[in-house]
Each structure stands twice: as structure tokens, then as C-alpha cells.
């Protein structure tokens, strides 16, 4: 069976209710936008495969309910994530202030080498803006994160931000990835030779799921 991807990452969307987490995800994976999407109850995910530096990266993006009481449920999923989007709504000062709370929860419950990125969504609603771009930039800098203003509605910076986080996760786990590649290449040298056509990457013959 042909392998569909080389590595699998789990990313997690966090942020207050209504900041547009589900809309960001639908725009990224299905290129769709529904202004009145239904509330997310619990958690679910969507998948997409990106190619970064010749590596096929399958990303599983988990979407979560934003209401505070759901955190007791969603934080169970922090531990299995390698990357986190902290999302606020540029038209909601409150959602921006809450980023600090979300960030400290991530520190508490997520793995140490978790990669984070700050997203200010709804950048198309300039007339309702409550959070200046500079504020977002500053907060991201304080936390050592990258920052994007995005719009799921106009498809602005969506692919860019998802790709950036995926790249960061890939880089952060490069050592593990190289180790795995080396061992897999050793073991599967013969098989790789036989299957050479269509395969550009040594890790492509690795077994699906072996490091998720």
C-alpha cells in the first residue's frame, strides 16, 4: 500500500468562544467559510497533508469548544499535541486579554517542547477592531511566538499560519525525525530499493502511525 505521508502531527486550536476557531479550520482544510457556523461542543479534528522540505506532513488539527467550562475536557487533549494555535478575535478585547490565561494553561498541561503561534482572527472586520496589530505583535514577542492576523472570511494568511506552525513543529522534532529516519532507512533499505520509483524520501517507507 502506498504511503500517504511521512509524519503525523497534532495541532490544537484554542481560544475563547466565537473567535473563529472552527472557521479557520474549515477554511484551511476545505476552503469553505460559513459565517454562522454551529458551536463546537466537545472536540473534533480535521486533517490535511502539507509538504514541507520534501517531507509529507499529515496534520491532524483538533478543534475545541471555547466556553470555559469545557476546558476540563479539552485540556486532556493538550498533552497529545505538538503545536497550538492561540486564537483571539481582533474585534474582541476580551478574547485578547484571555490569551494570557490560555497560554498559561498550555504551559501547565501541554508537553514542554510544544510549539505555539498567536492568531488574531477576523482581520477583515477593520471597522470593529478593538485590538491593534501592534498589541498582538507585542504579546507574541513577549511569549516568543510568531504572530499572524488572519481572516477565515477572506482567506487571508490562513495557509501561511498553519504552514508556519507545522514548520515549527517539524523543526522542533527534527532530532527525533532524523533518528527515526536513520533507523528506518537501515531496516528498510532493501524494501526501499525495490520500491524506489515514486519515492523521493527515505522516510517514506516508514510505517504509518509509528510515531504518533
Amino acid at each position: 500500500m502506498a504511503k500517504q505521508y511521512d509524519v503525523l502531527f497534532r495541532l490544537l486550536l484554542l481560544g475563547d468562544s466565537g473567535v473563529g476557531k472552527t472557521c479557520l479550520l474549515c477554511r484551511f482544510t476545505d476552503n469553505e467559510f460559513h459565517p454562522s457556523h454551529i458551536s463546537t461542543i466537545g472536540v473534533d479534528f480535521k486533517m490535511k497533508t502539507l509538504e514541507i522540505d520534501g517531507i509529507k506532513v499529515r496534520i491532524q488539527i483538533w478543534d475545541t469548544a471555547g466556553q470555559e467550562r469545557y476546558q476540563t475536557i479539552t485540556k486532556q487533549y493538550y498533552r497529545r499535541a505538538q503545536g497550538i494555535f492561540l486564537v483571539y478575535d481582533i474585534t474582541s478585547e476580551r478574547s485578547f486579554q484571555h490569551i494570557m490565561k490560555w497560554a498559561s494553561d498550555v504551559d501547565e498541561y501541554a508537553p514542554d517542547n510544544i510549539q505555539r503561534i498567536l492568531i488574531g482572527n477576523k482581520s477583515d472586520e477593520e471597522e470593529k477592531r478593538q485590538v491593534a496589530t501592534g498589541q498582538g505583535n507585542k504579546l507574541a514577542k513577549d511569549y516568543g511566538m510568531d504572530f499572524f492576523e488572519t481572516s477565515a472570511s477572506t482567506n487571508y494568511n490562513i495557509t501561511e499560519s498553519f504552514t508556519r506552525l507545522a514548520e515549527q513543529v517539524l523543526a522542533a522534532n527534527k532530532k527525533d525525525l532524523d533518528l527515526l529516519r536513520a533507523s528506518v532507512t537501515d531496516e528498510l533499505n532493501l524494501a526501499a530499493l525495490e520500491e524506489e520509483e515514486g519515492i523521493t524520501d527515505g522516510a517514506a517507507a516508514s510505517q504509518k502511525g509509528c510515531w504518533c
Partner: protein, 402 residues
């Protein structure tokens, strides 16, 4: 904004299989009408009607029977609903966000103006009930329950019934935290284990958890079913039964999808994703009847102990597979879980033997189910006490249970 009057009984959403020529349907209509017309109203018969095939048939009947099932007197309801203070209301923003995103719950083809009027009423009902019961806390999904009542009953009746429901069936979901909600979900795996040990073990191995059923439980499936007729049919059933019945129904759905589950890749994400996507063409009547059977065979009291155990094991077993390359099978919690599975397989076999001997006849089942439901309506306070203190509370010491 202009308020539309309730859709209520005149809604185009009425019941299933409307062939008036159907003799069974005719008979059922007559039985319901008779039960409503005797003094005192025969609630036991109404419960049986709500559970048995087809449920309560039309929204017109639901308007009369649902209040009876919840023991809400309709003759003393205030003519006019009290005004609601929206500003400075701690829940208003969240409720507004959810109601604005609930378009899908309204009948397709409803004029925007009418829908917007109903959305305003929906906000008012929710805030009114929360305002009068400060011990209750709003959760996302509560609006999915309330909109169902609003569409069937109209604002005035819906307010009264939702208030009753919120202080009884939904009470545990409305705690300050979701701890009790999570604990109720812990009943799911023990039921599945008894129905189908193979599926149970597969799900345990995948570490799928029970969050896929969260929205089913706390919205009574209103959030995930697109056909309103199916939603109200289920509400007939749940209103007539024990508050834990939605969990039995969830277990029955998982069982119904046995082949798909076992064909699924055995990892958390795949199984969670599969189960989260609920099929829209479920054989509802069959599943309702199976859920009723399960409830009679394995009542909550029998599952309480295991549900409490699930809770502690969940805590212990929540070490997730991360980015490590360690062979999974050597991790201590995997070994522990394997041992537990072996032990549970033994217990499962014993439970299987019980199923064989405990097949009640259909009639007896409805009677027993109806009796369980009756307890809810009559001794609601006592039941809540018993359930929250003994059966549902995860924190209590296990030796409390016989």
C-alpha cells in the same frame, strides 16, 4: 425586533408516518386521547405511548403530553412571560454567540423574520430560566435543548418545561463544572462492555474515551441530528425515561455500528472521528426499543460502581502516546490496562450469561421503563439526591457500594 408568535402546534414539523388510515396509529391516537381525558390524567399510559413505536406522533399531542410527563401544570402558567434583563447578565454573551450560530436548528424554509423572532425568544427563555435558578450554569449545547422545546411548544410552555427539565434531567450538566457530566459519560463503557465485549475492548485499546458522545448526552442528540422529526421522537422517549437513558441510547448506537468500529484503525483519533459522525439514517424505533431493553437489563445502580472505577482509571491511564519512540507495549500503564482487559473479559462473559436469561417481554419492558420514569416525576427531589449522592458521584469511597 418584531416578535413572532410561537410556532407551537401549528408548526410544519409534525410527527412521523402521518397516514391517518394506519389502524395502529389510529389506535394510538385514541389511547393517548383517552389517557389525557380521564381524571386524574393517566401519566403511566402517556409514558408508555411516548416510549413505544412512533412516540407521541404529532407536535399537537406533544404540547399536551410533554407537560404531563414532566409533571408541569399548564393551567397556572402566567399569561405573559416576565421581562428579561439582558444587560449585565453574566451568561448573555455566551448565549447570544450560541443562539446566533444555531440557524441549522430551525426548519429550512422558515422566513428569516420568523426565525429571528424565535431566536430572540430562545435567548429570553434561557436567560429567564437561568435568572430564576441561580444554581444553574449555562453550557454550550443547552441552547440545542431549549430550541427543540421552543419549536414544539412555543415560548410560554417551553419556558415552564425547560425550567423543570433543567432542575431535574439536565441538572448535573448545569453544575459549575463539568465533572458530573464527565462522570455520567463513564456509564457508557460499562454498558458497551455488556452488550459487546469485543467492541468495548477495541475502544479501550484505541483509548478513544467517551467525549465523542458528549454532545449527544448534553443536547439529547439535538446538536447532531439534522432531521427535527428524529429529534422530537427521541425527546418523547427521553422525557418518559430515567435521566441516564441518553447514555443507553448512545451505547446502542455504538453497538449498531459494530462493524464500522471494528474495521476502523485502532487509534484514538480514527475511532473518535468515526463515532462523532452520527449516521442520519439510524433505525430509531429499533434503537429506542433496544436502549429500553438495556436499561431494564443493566439498570444504572448495577453500573454505578464500574462507572466510578472508570473515573479513577481514567485518571491513571491518561498518559498519552506522545512524540516518543518507545515501544508502546512496554509502558507500565499499557500492561496494567491489558490486565484489566483480561479481567473484564471474564466479567463480560458472566454478563453475557445474564443477558440470555433476562429477556423481558415487550409489555413488561414498557411497564418497567414507565415505572422508572414515574419515579423521576414523582420523587424528583429524592431521586436527584440518591443519584448525585450515591450513583453518580465519583468521589465517594467505593466500599459504599454493595
Amino acid at each position: 425586533m418584531k416578535r413572532s408568535r410561537s410556532v407551537g402546534a401549528s408548526s410544519p414539523l409534525n410527527g412521523i408516518g402521518k397516514q391517518d388510515g394506519d389502524p395502529r396509529r389510529k389506535r394510538k391516537l385514541a389511547e393517548i386521547s383517552q389517557a389525557l381525558n380521564v381524571t386524574p390524567v393517566d401519566v403511566a399510559v402517556l409514558r408508555r405511548m411516548a416510549i413505544s413505536e412512533g412516540g407521541l406522533l404529532t407536535d399537537e399531542i406533544r404540547c399536551k403530553v410533554w407537560p404531563r410527563l414532566l409533571n408541569v401544570p399548564t393551567d397556572i402558567l402566567p399569561e405573559k412571560s416576565e421581562e428579561v434583563e439582558r444587560e449585565n447578565n453574566k451568561d448573555y454573551n455566551q448565549v447570544l454567540l450560541d443562539v446566533q450560530r444555531s440557524l441549522r436548528r430551525f426548519p429550512p424554509g422558515m422566513p428569516d423574520e420568523q426565525r429571528e423572532g424565535l431566536q430572540e425568544e430562545l435567548i429570553d427563555i434561557i436567560l429567564r430560566v437561568l435568572g430564576r435558578n441561580t444554581q444553574l450554569h449555562y453550557y454550550q449545547g443547552y441552547h440545542d435543548i431549549v430550541v427543540t422545546f421552543l419549536l414544539v411548544l412555543g415560548e410560554r410552555l417551553a419556558t415552564a418545561l425547560v425550567e423543570k427539565l433543567s432542575t431535574h434531567h439536565l441538572r448535573d450538566f448545569m453544575d459549575p463544572t463539568m465533572d458530573n457530566t464527565k462522570h455520567i459519560l463513564n456509564y457508557l463503557m460499562p454498558i458497551i462492555e455488556r452488550v459487546n465485549p469485543e467492541v468495548h475492548d477495541f475502544m479501550q485499546q484505541a483509548e478513544v474515551g467517551t467525549i465523542f458522545a458528549l454532545s449527544w448526552l448534553i443536547t439529547w442528540f439535538g446538536h447532531v441530528l439534522s432531521d427535527f422529526r428524529h429529534v422530537v421522537r427521541l425527546y418523547d422517549f427521553f422525557l418518559a425515561c430515567h435521566p441516564l437513558m441518553p447514555i443507553y441510547f448512545a451505547a446502542v448506537i455504538v453497538q449498531y455500528r459494530e462493524d464500522e468500529v471494528l474495521d476502523c484503525e485502532c487509534d484514538m483519533a480514527s475511532v473518535h472521528h468515526l463515532l462523532s459522525q452520527i449516521p442520519q439514517d439510524l433505525p430509531y424505533e429499533t434503537l429506542i426499543s433496544r436502549a429500553g431493553d438495556l436499561f431494564v437489563q443493566f439498570p444504572p445502580s448495577e453500573l454505578a460502581r464500574e462507572a466510578a472505577q472508570q473515573y479513577s482509571q481514567q485518571m491513571a491511564a491518561s498518559t498519552f502516546k506522545d512524540f516518543d519512540l518507545t515501544p508502546e507495549q512496554q509502558r507500565p500503564d499499557t500492561v496494567l490496562r491489558r490486565r484489566r482487559r483480561e479481567k473484564q473479559a471474564l466479567k463480560g462473559a458472566a454478563a453475557g450469561a445474564m443477558v440470555a436469561t433476562a429477556q423481558p417481554t415487550t409489555a413488561r419492558r414498557f411497564v418497567r421503563l414507565a415505572v422508572m420514569g414515574l419515579t423521576v416525576a414523582l420523587g424528583a427531589a429524592a431521586l436527584t439526591l440518591v443519584n448525585t449522592a450515591l450513583e453518580w458521584a465519583p468521589k465517594l469511597d467505593l466500599h459504599l457500594f454493595p
